[in-house]
């Protein structure tokens, strides 16, 4: 908008008015922030997908996109849409640079996790109690495994658990809840204090973990704290928990994987599609853009429902079914776009703009998707091998739920008999 010359004003001739037949009265926008939505982020967004593909949610002041092609088209369109870092929810009161995309940081993360996966898995599974008492597979295996791996990758020294926990609290404060925001601010201050000590201790040390790599890059404590907060440590445990929840509640599917373990990778991809841990993601219009039959003004919040898009019947046959032999799902890691082999991939990570590189250089670290996929498949195969007769404990049906609006959709309690 130029201030001089055109006086800085323009006319809005774009048609904004809605017609009687275009009302969205099949959905009450309050249902999208209701308690029921946290337990079931599929049904109401499914109504949007089939009726109002770009839904103007007046209560939440956002546009909902729910169809697969629409959602992925926004992910890859960084000319028109931007993501805002989690920390921006704190309104600029806490600042630091996210160095998570630096190759040194990515390489050390990958190296540390690759080195730790086998011993951590063995230790986790060895520690399960013998006997007939039911075991919570989520807290004892999936969460424990993810915690140990990330703790090892982030800081091999002391404080690794505290660092992870503080970063989790800061992330939790980025939602709508003011109490969580206050707790997040306090946690960020603690995180910075703790990282000052850890960074000082790592200065000049060999790059053995992420904090050491950050110290080597000259990161301030605030930068390191921001990097930790922006690091996604929740998708791995949540997706693993959801995979096992789906396998154990779909005995026929589990039997197929037991008979043919190579299907585990497909089962994991199918679990990501069926029950994505990141049920929704936000993008913002960088400038005014007309898309999806609507004028999206500058700054408009575009709320992308991966939950609805992953069950788009335009892409997937019987989308509500969990089917490990599904033929219409991409079965390998897509490189920068959502389709490989002409098939749609599950939406779980925002892939961003497709790479112009014809292939990933050998020495570059694997993508977070590939890394997570490898860990999850290795862990699930190990669990299957160790406990082939594992069954759900009776009278404790598992369920999945969003921990908060915009949070993680996951199974939290999965009681099983392993013997």
């Amino acid at each position: 908008m130029t201030v001089d010359g055109r006086r800085g004003f323009r006319s809005y001739e774009v048609y904004q008015r809605e017609r009687v037949g275009e009302t969205t009265n099949l959905v009450n926008p309050r249902d999208l922030i209701a308690d029921d939505y946290l337990g079931d982020p599929f049904t109401v967004p499914g109504v949007l997908r089939e009726n109002y593909p770009c839904f103007r949610d007046w209560v939440g002041n956002r546009f909902w996109l729910t169809r697969y092609d629409d959602v992925t088209s926004v992910f890859v369109d960084d000319a028109n849409f931007e993501t805002r870092p989690r920390m921006s929810a704190y309104g600029g009161s806490m600042s630091g640079h996210d160095l998570g995309a630096e190759p040194e940081v990515q390489q050390v993360l990958t190296r540390q996790i690759d080195a730790a996966i086998v011993p951590v898995l063995d230790r986790t599974l060895d520690s399960l109690p013998d006997g007939a008492a039911p075991v919570d597979l989520v807290s004892a295996v999936t969460d424990q495994l993810a915690h140990d791996l990330f703790a090892h990758a982030i800081s091999t020294g002391r404080h690794c658990s505290e660092l992870l926990e503080l970063a989790r609290i800061v992330r939790g404060g980025a939602g709508w809840n003011e109490r969580d925001r206050v707790a997040g601010q306090a946690a960020f201050a603690d995180l910075v204090k703790m990282l000052e000590l850890v960074l000082a201790a790592n200065k000049g040390a060999p790059e053995r973990d992420m904090v050491a790599a950050l110290a080597e890059l000259g990161a301030s404590a605030a930068d390191a704290a921001t990097t930790l907060v922006e690091l996604d440590t929740e998708t791995l445990p949540a997706s693993l928990a959801n995979l096992w929840c789906l396998l154990l509640t779909n005995k026929a599917q589990l039997d197929q994987v037991v008979a043919e373990p190579r299907l585990m990778k497909f089962a994991y991809l199918e679990a990501l599609r069926h029950s994505p841990p990141t049920a929704t993601t936000d993008r913002y219009a960088k400038h005014e853009v007309e898309r999806f039959g609507r004028l999206l003004p500058q700054g408009a919040l575009v709320h992308l429902s991966a939950a609805a898009a992953n069950r788009d019947p335009r892409q997937f046959v019987d989308p509500d079914n969990f089917d490990v032999t599904r033929k219409d799902l991409c079965q390998r890691e897509p490189r920068g776009q959502y389709r490989a082999d002409g098939l749609p991939a599950p939406i779980v990570f925002g892939h961003g703009k497709p790479s112009v590189l014809p292939a990933r250089p050998k020495e570059s670290p694997r993508s977070r998707f590939a890394l997570t996929l490898d860990i999850a498949v290795a862990a699930s195969l190990a669990v299957l091998e160790r406990f082939p007769a594992m069954q759900l404990a009776p009278d404790a049906p598992p369920s999945m739920r969003l921990d908060r609006l915009g949070g993680t959709y996951r199974c939290r309690d999965l009681l099983v008999n392993i013997s």
Binding site: R7, E13, Q16, T23, D35, R56, P297, G299
Partner: protein
């Protein structure tokens, strides 16, 4: 997530939503969807003004600006805080001058703004008074649908002020100025009521669209006729004052081009919606407040000039329009809060009117207050000599163009009403009680009361 965790409180007290480590009270954004907030908003706005003058509501993806001085500054900065539609009203009304800025806004606004002020209005005051008298005459006309209920023993008559007067009076005045035949009066109330309550995508959005379509169907032929042959407004002597607003809209040229029928009907919808509901609410709230303050009521009866300050104090105390949306054109930082460009920023007029940095003891209704400017409404606002204009009509380029006619309607209408309602009092049995202090009348809260049952003596 429970949608309504906020309990009802005694008026003036805030529900405890928790505190930060330094004791600062927190705001739970679910508050803004709660019945408590609609009924008892002022203690919460006080918390926001004192602790979060720019509050980022991350549940509803918007920011609230709550202090008088900040809102005034934003209203005057129409480049920095634009009116680009993000859906506040354009979904129902269509594109109107509400969403324009600068020259384009002024050109359109001036087409009909001048009908609502100055000589054009003054010459038509007698006809406004006549509309009021005609409505009152229907109270005692069998079959009018507005008959007063009269108790033959006591001689006490009862009316519901909305149905008997306030629903139709403002819209009849507006219909006159617009040039809509009075035979459509029966639909007026529904049109504006449904359209205004359908704004903002509320549960009544669908009804708003239906009413808007019905209005369009009605005025479509009218617009075609006026394009061919304009019609005029006349004063009491039969002299032409100006073209009526619809004719004016049909014939006005902007950049050498006439407006499309769509734009004309959108602006008609805006005038019908804005001119109906707001003044209805003003008359209802004014009478409700005055009748609950007997000393002030006596004073107004003794001196009819006091209707003017009473009208302004009512608008300061309980305006029926909560505020206006703006969007920041650039990234801004206000009170330490970073607001990215294009964010929805609510300018909360209701809170500005209760800002104790400006108005002493703001929750008190007092038509004699010395810090409120109570004369002719100015686009530039008024803030000198310790007197400040209220924010009910906004200030700056987007000051309500109907502010002055609304003022005249409410004051004139009330002066006529007083004569028709001897010994008037609120019929408390038919009025809703407060949900907490059940022996008290329900407060106005946000918006305007829907019904006001009045008893008065018949000769």
């Amino acid at each position: 997530m429970s949608p309504h965790p906020i309990e009802l409180m005694a008026l003036g007290q805030a529900f405890d939503m928790g505190c930060g480590p330094d004791g600062t009270p927190l705001i739970d954004p679910r508050l803004f969807d709660s019945a408590e907030f609609r009924r008892n908003p002022y203690p919460y706005y006080r918390i926001m003004r004192d602790h979060y003058p720019v509050f980022h509501d991350r549940l509803h993806n918007c920011y609230y600006v709550t202090r008088y001085e900040d809102i005034t500054a934003c209203y005057f900065d129409e480049v920095g805080f634009n009116t680009i539609p993000k859906g506040s009203s354009s979904g129902v009304l269509g594109n109107t001058q509400l969403e324009l800025s600068g020259l384009e806004h002024r050109r359109r606004r001036n087409i009909y703004g001048r009908h609502l002020v100055g000589a054009a209005l003054t010459k038509r005051l007698p006809s406004i008074e006549r509309i009021a008298q005609d409505l009152i005459a229907e109270w005692f006309t069998a079959g009018s649908g507005k008959e007063a209920e009269v108790d033959p023993n006591s001689g006490t008559a009862t009316i519901e002020l909305g149905k008997a007067f306030a629903n139709e009076f403002p819209i009849s005045v507006v219909a006159d100025v617009l040039g809509i035949p009075q035979d459509a009066r029966a639909q007026f109330t529904w049109w504006y009521d449904a359209m205004m309550s359908g704004l903002g995508g509320s549960e009544t959005h669908h009804d708003g669209l239906v009413a808007r379509q019905d209005l369009e169907d009605y005025v479509e032929d009218l617009v075609a006729e006026r394009r061919a042959a304009p019609t005029f407004l006349y004063d009491d002597e039969g002299n032409v004052v100006a073209m009526d607003i619809i004719s004016e809209l049909c014939h006005a040229e902007i950049d050498g081009d006439v407006m499309s029928t769509e734009e004309v009907t959108s602006n008609i919808a805006l005038v019908v919606g804005g001119g109906g509901e707001t003044t209805r609410g003003a008359i209802m709230n004014l009478w409700y407040l005055l009748l609950q303050h007997p000393d002030q009521w006596q004073a107004v009866q003794a001196d009819s000039d006091l209707w003017q300050p009473a009208f302004h104090e009512m608008l300061r105390h309980s305006t029926s329009i909560g505020g206006q949306p703006r969007h920041n054109t650039f990234d801004v930082e206000m009170h330490g809060v970073h607001v990215p460009a294009g964010s929805l920023m609510h300018m909360v007029d209701v809170s500005a009117n209760h800002d104790d940095r400006i108005f002493a003891d703001p929750e008190r209704f007092d038509i004699f207050r010395s810090d409120l400017y109570s004369e002719k409404i100015l686009r530039s606002g008024h803030n000198k000599d310790g007197r400040y204009s209220h924010m009910a009509f906004g200030v700056g380029p987007h000051l309500c163009p109907g502010a002055w006619i609304s003022h005249q309607e409410a004051v004139l209408g009330s002066q006529v009403l007083v004569g028709a309602l001897p010994n008037v009092r609120i019929n408390r049995e038919r009025m809703p009680s407060d949900k907490v202090a059940t022996n008290e009348l329900a407060p106005i809260g946000l918006g305007a009361i829907r019904t006001l049952w009045l008893d008065f003596d018949t000769p």
